[in-house]
Symmetry: C2
Subunit: 439 residues, 2 copies
C-alpha cells in the first residue's frame, strides 16, 4: 500500500478539495480522504491539482503525421480527406507501431491515461489482408502497452466508399469484405490487462444499414462507436438514400444501444437529440475547428441526457483540456451565452465521461475501487500563476496546457515524472517516426 | 555589429527560408541574407524558426488578474463586465505597476515584443485624479520598460456609462470630465525610446460623437483605436440613438482616418466593410470566445482592404499564435471552409499588422532598417516534432504555444533566453501581484 498526499485534488465537485490523501493498493485506489492538512509520514507529496486520468475517447493516431502539413490553400473536410489517405498509404505494422508509440507518448505527456483508437487502417495498402489480419490493430495495442497508457481499440467496420459506392483506391485497405468478415476478424482480438476491444461502425457513409446491424449485434457488452453527422453532406446523402438521418438509420439498426458513443454529432436534427441522449457523445472540438465542421449543440445534447466526452481525433493538437474548454468556448461563439457548461461538467467530460465511452466505467474518478490513474497539474507555471484553491479547477480547465502536466500515474505506475515520459524521448520518436513516413 | 544565423527564418513569404544571416547594428537590423548554409564565424546560431517580434495590438493588462475567476455560472459579456469592474477597483499606480510588469513579462515569454495597452483606468477609484493625472499610464509605461518590450499606450477617452447615461460607480475612475480634459491630460504624455503614445475612443457607448471628433482630431499622426460592434446590443443602442452603426458614427466623427484600428468589429453591417477596409482591424479571438462575442468576418474585412492584427485583450490567455490561428479556425467553424487565410497572412497579422496598428510601421519584419526585434521558436519540442523546413511556418502557426518560444530579442537586446525572462521570475511576480489585488 502506497499513499499520495495531493495539495489539491478534484473529487468531482464544483471546486477542488484541499489536502487529499489517496491510498493505492496495487493498481487500484484503496482510499480517498480530503481535508488532511499535511502529508502523512511516508506519503508522496503531489503539489498542484491532481485529477483522475484524462480520457481521449476518439483518436486516429496516424493522423499525427499530418500536423502542420494540411493548411495550405483552401478546401474543406473532403479535400482534407484526400490528403489523409495519402498519409495512410505507406503505413505498415512496423512503422505504425513506431508512430502510434510516439503519438500515445505525446498523449501521456498531456495527461491522457486511456485512449480510444478508432481503428480502420486494417489491411495492406491496396486492400489484401496481412498474414495476421489484425496485424495493424495489434501494433496499436503494443504501442499503448509500451507507453503505459490504457487503450480501447475501437475496431471500425468500413465497407463502402460512400452510400452505395465502391471503395476508392485510398480506402481499400480500410475495408473488410463484409460485416461478417469484420466480425470474424475482430473476434480474434482479446482484452488484456490494459487493453479493451470495442467496435465501430465507421459511418453511414462506409457501412450500410444491414451491415451496421451486424456490427451492433456482434458483442452487445462492448463499446460501440460511430461517426455521426460530422458534415452536412453526410446528412444529405443519408436522407436521400434512406429517408432518415444518420442517427435514425443507426438507431434502426440497433446501434444506439447501451455502450453507444456518437462521435461529433455536429449537424444533428431535432429528432436526433432523444436518440443520442441515451448514450455518449464524443466531441472533438480542435478537429472540428480544423476541418471546418461547425459547432455542435453540446448543451442541448447534455440536457437530453447524453454523457459528453472528448477526443483529439486528427491529433492536429493533443491537449485534452483544450478539447474540454473548447466545448464551452465554441458554444459561446455560437450562442452568445457564457457558462453553458460548468468547469466540473467539462472536467467530467474529460475524465469519467471518456472512460465510460471507452468501456472503463470504473475509471476517470478518484474514489476507492477506481483504477489508480492520476494526473497532477502544476499550478506554479506562468499560465496558471495567480490562481487560488477555490479557482484552481476552473483555471486548469480554462488555461492549462500539456506543459503544465507534471506527473502521470496509470494503474499505480508512474509513466510521466517532472513532465517527461519515464522511458521514451517523445519528441525524438515523433520526429523519427513521422520522418520515416513522409520523407 | 553582431550577427545571428537562423536555421530557419520567416521573411514574409509563404514558407520559411533556410540559413538566414541577420546582421544587427545597435538596435536595428542592418542586413538579411538567406540561403547561407552554415553559420559564419562569430554569428550566434538560432536553432528553430525565427520570426519578427510578435505584436499584441490590444491588451487590458489588469484583466490578467481575472484569469480562471469568471467562469462560474452563466451570463454574458455584460455580467462579465461587472466582474471586471470589481477587479479594477483596488488598482493604484503601485500595484498596477507590479501587475502590468508581470503581465508584460508573460507576454515577452510568449514572443510579444510590442504591446498596445488600451488604457482607461486613469483616475482614483471613485473618479478623482491622481496628483499626476497620468500616474496610472506612467505606471504602465514603466512596467513595459522594466520588462524590455515596446509599448504603445493607447490612452482611451471614456466619458459615459452608455449612450446618454451617467457613468456607473465602477466606471467613474475611467472617465475624464470631457474630451477636452482627456486631450489636455494625454498631451502631457511623451514618446520614449521604446514607448509611443496613441489615442482611443473607448466605444460609441462611452464617447458621444462630438467628443469622438475631438479625440480623432487631437493628433492625427498618432494611432487611434476604438472598440467597435463587439456585441449586438451596442449596435442596437447606437442605431436607436444615432440612426447609424458604430462604424458609421465614428467615420462621421472623422475617426476612421489614417492610423485607425477597429477593435473586434465582430457584428458589423455590410455598409461597414468599406469604411473599415481603409484601416486596421484588431481581432481578439480568445477573448471573443471567452466573452461569447461571436465570430467576426475577417476574410471579408481583409478582402475589403483591412489590415488584420490580433490582441490578447482580456488576457484570459496570452498566446499570440493561438490568437492568429483562431482567426482562421473560428472562421472555419462559421463558414465550413478551410484555408480562409494562409499561414503567411496569419503570421503577418501577428507581426507587421500589429506593429502598423500600434504606430511602429517599421517593425514586425525581418529586413534591413527594421528594429532588431526577433523571436525564435524551437522546433524540437513535442508539439512541433516531425515538421520540416517547408512546413515549419504552418506548424508553428497552427501548433506552437508560448512554451516553444526560446529566445526573444528587442532592439538588439536579449530579454528571453532559453524560454526564461533574463531578469524577472514571471510566475512568482504574477502570483504575488494578483494575490495582492484579490486576497
Amino acid at each position: 500500500m502506497s499513499a499520495y498526499w495531493c495539495e489539491l485534488a478534484w473529487l468531482g465537485g464544483e471546486a477542488a478539495e484541499k489536502g487529499v490523501v489517496i491510498g493505492v493498493e496495487g493498481e487500484t485506489i484503496a482510499s480517498v480522504e480530503a481535508g488532511v492538512d499535511a502529508a502523512p509520514a511516508g506519503a508522496e507529496v503531489l503539489a498542484g491539482l491532481t485529477l483522475p486520468g484524462l480520457a481521449n475517447a476518439h483518436s486516429h493516431a496516424f493522423q499525427r503525421a499530418m500536423r502542420g502539413r494540411t493548411h495550405s490553400g483552401r478546401g474543406d473536410f473532403w479535400t482534407w480527406r484526400e490528403e489523409m489517405y495519402l498519409v495512410a498509404e505507406p503505413l505498415d505494422p512496423d512503422n505504425y507501431l513506431a508512430l502510434a508509440r510516439a503519438t500515445f507518448a505525446e498523449m501521456a505527456l498531456a495527461g491522457i491515461t486511456v485512449a480510444g483508437e478508432f481503428h480502420y487502417v486494417h489491411h495492406r495498402s491496396g486492400g489484401s489482408p496481412y498474414e495476421d489480419p489484425n496485424a495493424m490493430g495489434l501494433a496499436v495495442i503494443e504501442a499503448a502497452r509500451q507507453v503505459g497508457i490504457r487503450l480501447t481499440l475501437i475496431d471500425a467496420c468500413y465497407l463502402h466508399g460512400g452510400i452505395g459506392a465502391e471503395p476508392e483506391p485510398g480506402q481499400r485497405r480500410f475495408c473488410d469484405t463484409d460485416a461478417e468478415a469484420w466480425a470474424e476478424r475482430v473476434s480474434a482480438l482479446e482484452d488484456g490487462p490494459s487493453t479493451r476491444i470495442g467496435a465501430a461502425i465507421h459511418s453511414v457513409r462506409a457501412v450500410d444499414p444491414k451491415s451496421a446491424a451486424t456490427v451492433a449485434a456482434w458483442d452487445p457488452a462492448r463499446p460501440l462507436h460511430a461517426h455521426i453527422s460530422e458534415q452536412p453532406a453526410e446528412n444529405e446523402a443519408c436522407l436521400a438514400a434512406h429517408g432518415a438521418t444518420p442517427s435514425a438509420v443507426l438507431a434502426e439498426a440497433g446501434a444506439v444501444r447501451e455502450g453507444f458513443t456518437a462521435v461529433h454529432a455536429t449537424h444533428i436534427s431535432d429528432s436526433d437529440f432523444e436518440l443520442l441522449g441515451e448514450g455518449s457523445v464524443c466531441l472533438c472540438p480542435t478537429t472540428e475547428r480544423d476541418l471546418a465542421d461547425g459547432v455542435g449543440l453540446a448543451r442541448l445534447l447534455a440536457d437530453a441526457g447524453a454523457r459528453l466526452c472528448t477526443g483529439s481525433d486528427s491529433n492536429s493538437l493533443i491537449d485534452p483540456l483544450e478539447e474540454a474548454r473548447a466545448i464551452e468556448l465554441d458554444e459561446r461563439l455560437a450562442s452568445g451565452i457564457r457558462g453553458q457548461h460548468s468547469a466540473a461538467e467539462l472536467m467530467a467530460a474529460a475524465t469519467s465521461g471518456g472512460h465510460a465511452a471507452l468501456g472503463w466505467p470504473e475509471g476517470g474518478r478518484l474514489e476507492a475501487g477506481a483504477p489508480a490513474d492520476l494526473v497532477t497539474i502544476g499550478l506554479d507555471g506562468v499560465a496558471l500563476a495567480g490562481t487560488t484553491p477555490d479557482h484552481a479547477l476552473a483555471s486548469v480547465l480554462f488555461a492549462a496546457s500539456p506543459t503544465n502536466v507534471r506527473k502521470v500515474i496509470v494503474g499505480g505506475k508512474v509513466i510521466v515524472s517532472d513532465g517527461q515520459h519515464t522511458t521514451i524521448d517523445v519528441a525524438r520518436e515523433l520526429a523519427e517516426s513521422i520522418g520515416a513516413l513522409t520523407s
